[in-house]
């Protein structure tokens, strides 16, 4: 083993409820190097014996665990459940604590690159960046629109809209902190992670997200009119955003001079049908934008002394598709030792092609059994009736049966984090 290679890796999983927060601590002969991957939550864990602001406590724990110095921060994508912990909240937020740990570099997906919209040679790129921007605007407006769904019968629908909508809003405070706490590096499939100097002896491969051009090489749909598609898509979200702005719950009357009255008794039931449809429609909108945002996730594979650690953020199949289309990548992933379960265990973020390829999964007696980490909270997303619950029961069963699973749902009330160590 080379003297400048790490001897072990400790991965800490922090219980942030419905969110992600992991600290990778590489143990070198003389010092440690620390990589923080995501820090955010949408719903805090319940029953924790913690006083004060919970996320600040987690930040303090990170500070303690890394000895007051972070080397790398990875913000896999812009969802609130992955970056809300970076909010500075005017000096009082957890992001202030993380900022003080002075990371050397922040890694984000290429979609966050502020230069992307100005790349005039690739219209789709501008279109895509614009689409993401407009989507975030729409998310904020959807949360507001959901207030029109008043009454008990729409309670569940309102809750769903709030969760997905809030997750997708802009998070400007956290984003500004990430942009300014250290030099940013925006990555895509095949780009260099640029961590060679910080993590000697560790090979870091960026597997995702693919660029639109990369996606188009394998995309079977609309491959001939990608420019037009992204342009139209950006215009669509722009229009939707403008619509929600102009026609919000407190907007002026649609027809100012037209009489507005009470529904005739015979049509009373119809009101609730239309309201439900509006709710369904809003849900379908936020689900679409949620998926697009998940698919901007950075996927990183760390390799050190033959051990492989895979962190895919919330990447869904559309993100994975490009990497998995390459036989070399599929081969590379066969002997992964540690896998962070994608998107809190949702039905579509651990592609079966990927899971089936893991050679180390198997029963308890399996030598060198696959280690998996799942950060999740039940009852926030989806429903068992529709087989969309998060975490998805069938996936959870597979993780239980075929891997050593660390699941934040099973943490005891007094436990803030658990750690797993891999010896190299």
């Amino acid at each position: 083993m080379a003297s400048n290679s790490p001897k072990s890796l400790t991965v800490r999983t922090y219980d942030v409820g419905f969110g992600d927060c992991f600290l990778l601590s590489f143990q070198y002969p003389r010092r440690q190097r620390h990589v923080l991957i995501d820090f955010g939550t949408m719903r805090l864990p319940t029953g924790k014996r913690v006083t004060g602001k919970y996320m600040n406590k987690v930040a303090e724990a990170i500070k303690q665990d890394c000895g007051g110095k972070l080397d790398v921060v990875v913000a896999t994508h812009r969802h609130r459940d992955h970056i809300s912990g970076f909010e500075r909240q005017r000096g009082k937020g957890p992001g202030e604590i993380i900022r003080a740990l002075k990371p050397a570099v922040v890694i984000q997906p290429w979609t966050e690159d502020p230069q992307a919209p100005r790349d005039a040679t690739a219209p789709w790129r501008r279109g895509f960046a614009r689409t993401l921007l407009e989507m975030r605007n729409v998310a904020a407006k959807v949360v507001e629109s959901s207030r029109a769904l008043y009454g008990d019968r729409f309670r569940q629908m309102r809750a769903q809209l709030a969760v997905i909508g809030m997750d997708n809003i802009g998070n400007p405070d956290a984003v500004a902190n990430l942009m300014s706490m250290a030099p940013n590096r925006f990555v895509y499939h095949g780009s260099k992670a640029g961590l060679g100097g910080i993590l000697p002896g560790v090979k870091v491969t960026v597997l995702g997200p693919p660029t639109i051009a990369q996606t188009n090489t394998i995309k079977t749909m609309r491959s001939t009119d990608a420019d037009e598609f992204w342009h139209l898509s950006a215009r669509f979200w722009q229009r939707l955003s403008a619509t929600k702005e102009a026609h919000g719950t407190s907007a002026r009357a649609l027809f100012p001079r037209h009489p507005v009255g009470a529904l005739p008794r015979s049509a009373g039931w119809f009101k609730y049908s239309v309201m439900k449809e509006q709710g369904d429609s809003l849900l379908s909108i936020v689900r679409i934008l949620d998926k697009v945002m998940n698919n901007t996730s950075v996927i990183l594979l760390f390799e050190a002394n033959g051990k492989k650690i895979l962190f895919p953020g919330d990447a869904q199949y559309e993100n994975w598709m490009y990497a998995l289309s390459k036989p070399k990548v599929r081969k590379l992933l066969e002997d992964v030792n540690l896998y962070k379960v994608g998107h809190h265990g949702s039905l579509n973020a651990t592609p079966k092609t990927l899971w089936n390829a893991f050679a180390r999964k198997g029963g308890k007696s399996k030598q060198g059994r696959l280690q998996t980490l799942l950060s999740t909270k039940e009852g926030v997303h989806g429903s068992p009736d529709r087989k969309t619950e998060v975490p998805r029961t069938t996936l959870l069963n597979a993780l239980h049966d075929d891997s050593n699973l660390v699941n934040t749902e099973k943490f005891k009330p007094e436990v803030l984090r658990e750690e797993v160590t891999l010896k190299f």
Binding site: F236, R239, L263, K276
Partner: protein, 581 residues
């Protein structure tokens, strides 16, 4: 309410007492398409002269102008229900800012489309609601969103409104093709409920494609709109040279494509640029096999393109005796009238074809055979405008051949075992109305009709109809549908000669659907039996398509199916269910 007000409300349209219809003004397309002098381009459509209440609320359609975004109910007109107030209104802003007009527009277009269907099929048509409710509800300003759709669950059409690129509000209820499209969904669901069941790619595409065909032909049968498109190629005397009226010239000059682009500009956010894509699609027999056209909403564009091509050809054929065959320039109004006639005829053929389709698992070849058969019954002589030949050629140019293979013209064959059929216990009167009588007929003739014995079978509809051709021919038929369901484990599929989709667990318990349409003559004899069995070789394709689209993973309700479909049309495809848990 005082006596004067009441008498005004209850005053009945005097014309309606003598004639069965009244005509109401609607927009020929949408507010972005203006006529000469920037005046509103309107057209008048015939609707039944029925008794109306505030809404308008008639015996088949009830406009309920509730806005869920603002929690507001826009009052309908409380008096003077029957007169068409907008016949002479040329100011488009007045129409756009008047909710009463919006309410009239949706009522009249939807009611007119319903009437066109009833005329074409020769019988009244029910909606497909579980409650058997006679009235379709329409919300012209349902919510602030760039969407419009039919919902079986809500028994309604909902039209959204949204901010256009200019900043003005765009009302989908003012778009003629969108209203016609959504009404067609509702009507098709009433006629063939099983077409919404998950099936292979063609059936998945058919609902949307058929609604687009109805929308496209509804527009083209408005001579005002076609005339507007033709202005570009007409001279100062409103004449169009015959060389500009050939199929090649009309296609190359893209007259209607430009029109579609114009009215699609704002509405493209509602369901993509589908109409424009279809109109511009060049025929190619390889398109259907391409991966991009496996997606239902893209695949449907091919069917629309086929019908559009047939329309152009029939239009040109109709212009020949008018003078194009002798090199004579034609008046623009005449050219537009012939377009309207061609669209009207094709629309009737497209609708009549529905009665000759299998009740489930149809493909585009079935639809071609169905249309040819339908037209052949009513118009045995097609030598004048060659509608059937043109349709066959148009389908062939996109690589689609008729499913009826034995006859040269592509129509369905009569049942090969017709002489073996038993008519015991079948009385003409009950044959026209009673499902149990029809079930007995199926029961007695299972072998002769090749109906699976193991599958659960039920008669789902019995519909007598009387169709009259423009030549005066009266056609009386009774159309009967039965459905079959056989539930099997995936591991058993091999035994039926059906291929199990790769990756599907053998433990999956899945339904195989089949069924048939029996068309009886006026003498009570079977003319056609158009069926697809539960063990049909088509099941392999159907199961593969279903598996790839995730139908075995989770329930797909029909409630807001069209809302999602339109959204996907706009924003691209669905997920990858084979990769999900």
């Amino acid at each position: 309410m005082n006596r004067t007000a009441r008498s005004r409300r209850e005053r009945f349209d005097p014309v309606s007492q003598d004639v069965p219809t009244r005509t109401w003004t609607v927009l020929a397309q949408d507010p972005s398409v203006l006529g000469p002098g920037k005046r509103a381009l309107t057209t008048r459509v015939a609707v039944p002269a029925e008794r109306l209440e505030a809404g308008p609320k008639g015996h088949r359609i009830h406009v309920i102008d509730f806005d869920a975004t603002r929690n507001a109910y826009y009052e309908p007109r409380q008096q003077d229900f029957y007169s068409d107030r907008y016949e002479k209104t040329g100011d488009i802003d007045k129409l756009v800012n008047d909710p009463y007009f919006h309410q009239q527009n949706v009522y009249a277009i939807a009611m007119h489309v319903l009437c066109v269907f009833q005329t074409a099929l020769g019988r009244p048509i029910s909606w497909g609601f579980n409650s058997q409710a006679p009235q379709l509800k329409i919300a012209p300003h349902a919510f602030a969103d760039a969407n419009a759709y039919y919902s079986r669950e809500s028994e309604s059409l909902s039209f959204g409104y949204f901010s256009g690129e200019s900043g003005d509000t765009v009302f989908t209820c003012l778009s003629h093709d969108i209203v016609a499209h959504e009404t067609a969904h509702a009507l098709l669901d009433g006629l063939r409920a099983s077409f919404l069941r998950p099936s292979h790619a063609d059936q998945a595409a058919f609902h949307e494609a058929f609604a687009d065909v109805v929308a496209l032909l509804s527009l083209l049968k408005s001579s005002e709109l076609v005339e507007l498109g033709l202005m570009e190629i007409s001279d100062r005397r409103n004449l169009i040279k015959s060389r500009d009226l050939t199929y090649q010239s009309l296609r190359q000059k893209n007259i209607l494509f430009k029109l579609a682009k114009q009215f699609g500009r704002e509405m493209s956010f509602v369901r993509g640029d589908a109409l424009r894509h279809s109109v511009a699609l060049d025929p190619s027999p390889t398109l259907l096999g391409q991966q991009v056209y496996q997606e239902p909403h893209r695949r449907g564009e091919i069917l629309v393109a086929v019908i559009f091509q047939a329309f152009l050809k029939v239009w040109c054929k109709r212009l020949e005796p008018r003078g194009t065959d002798r090199g004579i320039a034609l008046n623009r109004a005449v050219v537009a009238e012939e377009a309207a006639a061609a669209a009207r005829e094709l629309l009737h053929i497209a609708i009549r074809g529905l009665d000759y389709l299998p009740p489930i698992d149809l493909n585009f070849g079935d639809y071609l055979s169905a249309m040819i058969t339908a037209d052949l019954q009513l118009y045995p002589n097609d030598s004048k405008y060659l509608y059937r030949k043109t349709l066959r050629e148009a389908f062939a140019s996109f690589g689609i051949s008729p499913s009826g293979r034995r006859r040269e013209d592509g129509a369905w064959d009569p049942p090969p075992t017709a002489e073996k059929l038993r008519y015991d216990g079948l009385h003409f009167e009950t044959l026209q109305s009673d499902p149990n009588t029809l079930f007995r007929f199926i029961w007695e003739n299972r072998n002769a009709l090749g109906i699976d014995r193991d599958a659960f079978t039920r008669v789902t509809s019995v519909r007598p109809c009387v169709r009259v051709s423009t030549d005066g021919l009266v056609l009386r038929e009774t159309v009967v549908e039965y459905l079959q369901t056989l539930r099997v484990f995936a591991r058993e599929l091999d035994r039926f000669g059906i291929k199990c989709p790769e990756g599907l667990s053998g433990q999956t318990f899945l339904p195989l659907y089949g069924g048939g349409t029996l068309v009886f003559s006026e003498f009570g004899h079977v003319k056609f039996h158009i069926a697809t069995g539960v063990r049909s070789p088509r099941q392999s394709d159907r199961l593969k398509s279903l598996y790839e689209r995730g139908a075995f993973n989770r329930d797909t309700g029909v409630g807001t199916q069209f809302a999602d479909l339109h959204r996907r049309r706009m924003l691209g495809g669905a997920g990858h269910p084979e990769e999900q848990w």
